[in-house]
Subunit: 277 residues, 2 copies
């Protein structure tokens, strides 16, 4: 066991790396896993990706991403089924679901369509042995990206389905502000639904492009101690992904970014894993 | 009774107007009320402001603002007591409280200090006959502006105190995304704690400066129908303030902004007042 045996590099953190570079970079850094985005997977091809992962003994903590299930038509369902197939092919146990935003001003209906389409995807998810990991995104993304805004809401959406098929993502960046987050993490744990724990920081001020406002742990305002302890106390023992969208980090040398990530993880996240266990 | 007998012009919407210009502009537009900011009040002086309001038969729906109660020292308490005095002097029944952000990474302690200081202010609020109107701000402002992030949390903070002394603000911009908002509005109504209903729109994309991302009703994604019906069904019969921080609107002719505001209010907000009653 090392300090990093649960630390997973999401491929968006090292945006300029190919899949091969990311997997080899993770292996060189002593990491056990990557969080894969489908664009990198498509570039490499699934067979080649599987070979690269195998050759480097790197597992896939999750595949990013399915979702965008809120449109008026259900054209996205086929793509989500393909995403489940891809996740199964690369051995990813979880498919991250980013809900999708509002095609019009009717938020309630968008949320209902999402619920209906999750139900339509569950049989395929069960067949592939891949869990739909519902990710609440920060409420500032509700309009244009994800109508799931809290962990409590994600749990309510998951409730009709077996925990083996529908889980929830705890991404510190998205949920740190929520006055109810501790209770919701505990409840997600009781239900066996924590699909993924992801860490990156909330920067102040918010970046002009809010999508690129995620920061390296320690560069923002999030105290990772309590969240990490809560997730651990809730029974989560899976990988911890670092997924950072940030222009400065993308422009930096990826291997250096990985080293910084390891150091910050060891200092700011790792202690909570021991306390919460 | 006119279409506009509950419409209140917040002085920030017509940023370039002095207090006199705003009050006279509201009166000329047939509005009954303004929401006053303390900077405009300080410029005019309280006696002069009271005279201007009286001469124009304009009431003050609320005074903006007290708050910023989360620092490690309690230096802000004196200023909040002065704000309560000022609210009483101009006949504002509600003092809007913007909680304040996080002086460090300890969000839980910041929220506790806030709760403690609200308790310290309640006697002075009661003495002055002015209610502390706790305003949940959108979670994107949690770090640097307001650690009250949901209406439910505002109600929990208000709970130890009489409804006559501590209320909550329902600002569409801040709460529209919340999956629990309908229940929370109903609960706020049951408790008699709705201090203010404020409307402006959520723009997509968010402005590069998130503080200036508030839009004129109709320019963004909020459906004001359901929220207005819920607030009305919850028993709220007070003024409805329009408070817009937006560079383009600030650069436009204020009288034209007021006319646009009236038209959008009539088309998008007013119908909900009838349905919900």
């Amino acid at each position: 066991m090392t300090d990093f045996d649960r630390l997973s590099l999401n491929t968006r953190t090292t945006e300029s790396w190919t899949l091969r570079e990311a997997v080899e970079g993770a292996a060189a850094a002593g990491l056990p896993a990557v969080g894969l985005w489908r664009d990198r997977l498509a570039e490499a091809g699934i067979d080649e990706a599987v070979k690269i992962l195998h050759d480097n003994a790197i597992r896939v903590s999750s595949l990013c991403r399915g979702g965008f299930l809120t449109d008026h038509d259900d054209a996205a369902l086929d793509d989500n089924r393909r995403a489940l197939d891809e996740a199964a092919a690369v051995g990813a146990p979880e498919l991250i679901i980013v809900a999708g935003g509002m095609p019009d001003r009717d938020l309630r209906s968008a949320r209902q369509r999402l619920a209906d389409r999750i139900a339509e995807l569950v049989p395929h998810a069960a067949e592939r042995g891949v869990r739909l990991a519902l990710e609440p995104l920060h409420p500032m993304y509700c309009a244009d990206r994800a109508v799931i805004s809290t962990l409590g809401q994600a749990l309510a959406l998951a409730a009709p389905h077996p925990a083996a098929n529908v889980g929830v993502v705890v991404d510190a960046f998205h949920v740190w502000w929520d006055p109810d987050v501790a209770d919701q993490i505990a409840e997600a744990g009781r239900q066996g639904r924590i699909s993924s724990y992801q860490v990156c920081d909330w920067l102040v001020p918010i970046a002009a492009d809010p999508l690129l406002s995620r920061g390296m742990m320690g560069d923002g305002v999030i105290d990772f101690g309590p969240l990490t302890e809560q997730v651990t106390a809730a029974g989560y023992r899976g990988d911890i992904e670092v997924e950072i969208f940030n222009r400065e980090i993308w422009d930096a040398d990826p291997a250096t970014v990985v080293e910084t990530m390891k150091r910050r993880y060891r200092d700011l996240v790792l202690p909570g894993l021991a306390v919460g266990a």
